[in-house]
């Protein structure tokens, strides 16, 4: 089962780096959306997550705010 994984992040945010590095180390494919490079990405992220911090991880339509390894694993398994 392959769920689509999206990471909304900023180049300035250390937790975003950690999130990306974790996904890479686990061999999980993801799409990275830099919200500073494209204002539409930022708007999309704020609407989907109802808040204004990064990173936001989207897995199969579900939203995780921040870097939460356990939740990422759980959503990928479902």
């Amino acid at each position: 089962m392959n769920k689509k994984v999206k990471v909304y992040g900023l180049p300035t945010c250390p937790v975003c780096r950690r999130t990306k590095k974790y996904l890479e180390d686990e061999g999980i494919d993801y799409e990275y959306l830099d919200v500073s490079a494209n204002h539409d990405f930022a708007k999309e992220m704020i609407v989907k997550s109802g808040q204004k911090t990064v990173p936001v991880v989207e897995i199969g339509g579900e939203i995780i705010i921040g870097f939460d390894k356990a939740k990422i694993e759980e959503l990928l398994k479902r």
Binding site: P14, G50, K52, V54, D68
Partner: protein
């Protein structure tokens, strides 16, 4: 019967990680429990005073610390916040928001966090326009009017970052002049995008789903300022609330001696959460090393 570790390290900033590396090399059976990895170091901008690196960014140095720690094979529990530290029978109980653990010794290396405003609206709008880490989130406010709360170096640093990004920046400063470095003040005063409001205090945060204004009190008059972002930069407080039995300073820093011992035998502390002289990454790291070496002696003497 629950596993009893030789050592639990609370926190994984420079102090906690260095303590962990030393513990691994001493073959002490160790668990690291932490909310995040890298601590405040990971949120720092450029670092030019960590020996061996003429120049490195905070996140990069934190990554190097983490790599070093993960080279060893011990338990690390991330995303857990410690809520209680207490003596139980002959060992210590460490409770988190998710689990509880036991150990013969503990090193508290939980560092510091941003001081909060303590005003109405703060909880509701946290992460909804209210920000405690300018370095992390500033670019999300590219078309917005924002307020920076504070007047010290971290407030000025946030302002300098926001000047480049936001539409307009207000500095809300309690005292009658800014306190941060002159060099930064000059740059800020030259900008046409910044207003400095001295003798001003934020009393309420307003909004619907997101922040849309703040109420400020200036010279006994209350006014409302329309802003979409609020950056709180009013200093740091130690993460020491869970350690109720430890002796602390007035500001909540855990008192330690030069061996990193606290008032309770078996509990040690290191880094920015303690009353150590000066808070620096390299000092915190050194303190972490000292704390583990003290733990090693303590455990050896009890065998």
């Amino acid at each position: 019967m629950k596993r009893i570790y030789d050592l639990i390290i609370i926190g994984a900033g420079p102090a906690g990680i260095t303590a962990a590396v030393y513990a691994a090399r001493k073959k002490i059976d160790t668990l690291v429990v932490t909310k995040d990895i890298g601590g405040q170091a990971a949120l720092s901008g450029d670092i030019q005073n960590y020996t061996g690196y003429q120049f490195i960014s905070g996140p990069e140095l934190a990554e190097k610390f983490e790599e070093h720690m993960r080279k060893f094979n011990f338990d690390i529990r991330e995303n857990e916040e410690v809520t209680k530290l207490a003596a139980k029978q002959n060992n210590f109980l460490v409770k988190t928001d998710k689990n509880s653990y036991r150990a013969k010794t503990v090193i508290v290396a939980s560092g510091k966090k941003s001081r909060e405003l303590g005003i109405s609206g703060e909880k509701e709008f946290k992460n909804k326009g209210l920000v405690y880490c300018a370095t992390c989130d500033a670019p999300l406010f590219s078309e917005d009017d924002v307020a920076v709360i504070g007047g010290g170096n971290s407030a000025l640093d946030a302002t300098l970052q926001l000047m480049k990004i936001a539409n307009y920046v207000y500095i809300i400063n309690r005292s009658n002049s800014l306190r941060g470095d002159e060099i930064m003040q000059e740059k800020i005063k030259e900008s046409k995008k910044v207003s400095i409001l001295n003798n001003s205090q934020v009393i309420e945060i307003l909004g619907d789903n997101f922040v849309n204004a703040i109420k400020i009190k200036k010279d006994k008059k209350v006014e409302t300022l329309a802003v979409q972002g609020i950056f709180v930069e009013i200093g740091l407080i130690p993460n020491s609330n869970f350690a109720v039995d430890l002796n602390k300073t007035k500001s909540g820093e855990i008192k330690v001696n030069n061996k990193n011992e606290t008032n309770i035998p078996g509990i040690f502390a290191a880094g920015d959460v303690t009353d150590v002289f000066e808070k620096q990454i390299i000092i915190a790291a050194g303190e972490g090393a000292k704390a583990t070496l003290s733990v090693f002696r303590y455990l050896s003497s009890r065998k």
